[in-house]
Symmetry: C2
Subunit: 450 residues, 2 copies
């Protein structure tokens, strides 16, 4: 059932654009979902995409705008007049409109806002612009259905019908007092199953979840998931109902958070996508590579300390990448478990018991790996027994230390309010590389006495 | 607004358990959300948790059961009779009940099902048990509101009120024909804003999204996100409406998928959580470590090929961990971008243009890193100029090759229907380690001629 763009469709559209067959274009695209049209436009070049964009109706294009890749959206917006942009925004929900306005330059912002047709809508959008984008205020929309606790169900239903015209998904009906302070909610289901003569104050639910305008977005996501909510009301400092967050906006928060952890684990420090510019990618990737390079300098220095071993025990140096790699891998595994546990709030028990568990786990893994390494070093790699003993001992020690570092560092960062995901990836591999090499050669020095 | 468990609350509960103050326990917990109670039970030991579980009403405990950690749920279920388990399941939605039954042993399953009170409910649950848990059939619930296309709105509203009693969230009203084949939907909003005299066939929306019972769960998630759906109907092979999937179940799919990619990137091959047993962790972590160790064997062999350099150019060996680490880090970055692009469906353009982009990016990053390395090797590490030249040249080459491997491998895996996330983490770091070292020493051999 999923939509797939065919090469033929693209060719057909391009032909119609060349021939300026606006009617044909409309006929082809009008029945499609805006998400599908956005994907098609992303496949075309900017001029073609803009041409189609201008052919379609603004109720369709407004939604398309939201789904486009950033650079195409920017390009199309730059070719529209403030009045044309305002026409698009008039079609959108307040939070989506505010998101698009926030991307515009300061001058253009004011012009576009002054061109908005619906004054109430404009006021709501301006109101939303002042919230931080990572807060509940930045996520919420102004579209919601609310009723006064002093109404009866009849008035309520009448009012709701009017309000629902502007709300694409009703979810909950919020109950407020005369001062617009949130008092509770009416569920749609209650409404469907209750007689119309009942008083609102008799039937509304006084227990309800809400967040404040300045609650962090990831916190909102956590609350909505925990209590299985599809919408949550947002109140200001005085408890007045100022907006509502719906689950679709929260899905983006959840995905962004997971994506970001993943990118940090891979040594990418800024949210980039495959299609972003080379410069954007460099900004995101280079810092971690520089860090890894500086870590590499230290490992060169550390190896230099053991130069004396080279003449008689040169083989030792063949094993440094193996030891470093094992230390890095073990550290990343341990830290990933902790980072994910912190993100999903599934970590229980004390720090000590957690570290003890890692040690037991390392002993078990280390023991199995040590056997493989000892046998392998003897039969496959043909090294002297004493080198095999050194490498094997080092492996077990390195695995224990690396897993302890991998467990401890993200917990420590989290304690100090730093994103623990920073500790996975290059940071942990680099520091574990260095520790691993140091431990390995120290053991070799003790045993061989060079 | 988020719930936090206090030490005092736990102590108070434990005291009441010791004294068998059931009334006090109920009073303390009855007003709490089931998700909060589940978190409290997870903090207690199994006996205490079971005690509280048995004190509370089954409408509450059923929901709590769903939220518990796996091992506690298993433990509590093992202490309940088939009849008691059936009482819990009678309170749950069909898909949640089916999930719990699926965890039971074959014998217990049959017993519990025979004890279910509501025969319709039991039939629905049994029906759900036959679907694969990673398919739309495995995700869907039987609870939904549907109306016949031949009814008028009045009959429809009456019927809906009855049906809505069993459905915790209505979302959409589905329209079917006399054979129960899905024909379209009525939106709740339309219902709120349309006169009750209208005929269903005149107002229902004939365009609608749906999935088949055997559609994969990640595919369902993609469709629901793309088209911004909060519920989607599920049809069988004959187009008959058999269930409905809601967005809250999809959030779990999205999170699990992101978590899994993250774990694969960290070299963890099975879905484990921090609190799983050491054996589970070993199963998940050891395979990748063994792979990395075998990769390490190869790197030892590769280094052995260049043993001849040791006497005169021993310093070269100090740089192997640096080169290997840079190759690994670059490879992981490149592959993470591709894996995420594939997961989010944001990759556009040809393979060739993508590889070209990676080469340009590597040249830019490589050039900057090369300058740092060259200066660093001269002033910080005190190596001869010629070693500096070799290491620097190797670094740039290694970065280019590593990024190409990192880009190409996940795309290749994806082409063959293998999860591209497998390519991140240990697999890519290990192969890039080996390639990096080989390239480095080959360059050294060409320049120094050992």
């Amino acid at each position: 059932m999923e939509f797939k763009i065919s090469k033929n469709l693209i060719l057909e559209l391009e032909q119609h654009i060349v021939n300026k067959n606006d009617k044909e274009l409309e006929a082809l695209l009008n029945d499609m979902h805006h998400a599908d049209i956005a994907e098609i436009l992303d496949e075309l070049d900017f001029d073609e995409a803009t041409y189609i964009f201008k052919v379609l109706d603004s109720d369709k294009t407004a939604e398309i705008l939201l789904e486009l890749e950033d650079d195409l959206r920017e390009n199309i917006l730059s070719r529209l007049s403030p009045k044309e942009i305002a026409e698009e925004l008039d079609e959108l929900d307040t939070n989506d409109a505010a998101d698009i306005i926030a991307e515009l330059s300061q001058d253009l912002k004011a012009e576009v806002i002054s061109e908005l047709n619906d004054v109430e809508h404009a006021k709501d959008i301006v109101d939303l612009l002042r919230y931080d984008e990572n807060s509940a205020g930045g996520l919420m929309g102004k579209e919601l259905v609310k009723v006064n606790e002093n109404w009866n169900v009849l008035t309520c239903v009448k009012e709701m019908r009017i309000q629902a015209e502007n709300v694409s998904r009703v979810h909950s009906i919020y109950v407020v007092d005369d001062e617009n302070r949130l008092k509770g909610r009416l569920s749609l289901k209650d409404l469907l199953t209750t007689s119309t003569k009942t008083q609102i104050s008799d039937i509304y639910i006084r227990k309800y979840n809400f967040v404040n305008v300045d609650t962090e977005d990831v916190e909102v996501a956590r609350i909505m998931q925990r209590y299985d909510l599809e919408a949550i009301p947002v109140v200001d400092e005085m408890g007045r109902l100022v907006g509502r967050i719906t689950i679709d906006d929260i899905i983006d928060v959840i995905r962004d958070e997971a994506d970001q952890d993943y990118q940090l684990a891979a040594g990418i420090s800024k949210d980039v996508e495959a299609d972003d510019s080379i410069l954007e990618h460099t900004k995101a990737r280079l810092p971690w590579l520089v860090l890894a390079l500086l870590g590499g300098f230290i490992s060169v220095k550390v190896l230099g300390l053991f130069e004396g071993a080279m003449l008689e025990h040169g083989e030792l140096f063949f094993f440094t990448p193996l030891i470093a790699a094992m230390a890095g891998n073990v550290g990343v595994q341990s830290s990933a478990i902790i980072v994910q546990g912190l993100a999903n709030n599934t970590l229980t028990g004390s720090l000590f018991s957690r570290l003890m568990k890692e040690v037991s786990l390392s002993l078990l893994n280390g023991f199995i790996l040590a056997i493989i390494l000892f046998i392998g070093s003897h039969f496959l790699l043909d090294v002297e027994i004493v080198i095999g003993v050194i490498v094997t001992t080092a492996l077990v020690s390195v695995i224990i230390i690396a897993s302890l570092i991998g467990t401890f560092v993200p917990l420590l960062l989290d304690k100090f309010g730093i994103d623990p995901a920073l500790a996975t990836g290059p940071f942990i591999t680099t520091s574990n590389d260095i520790c691993g090499i140091l431990i390995y050669f120290s053991i070799a020095r003790i045993i061989l006495g060079f």
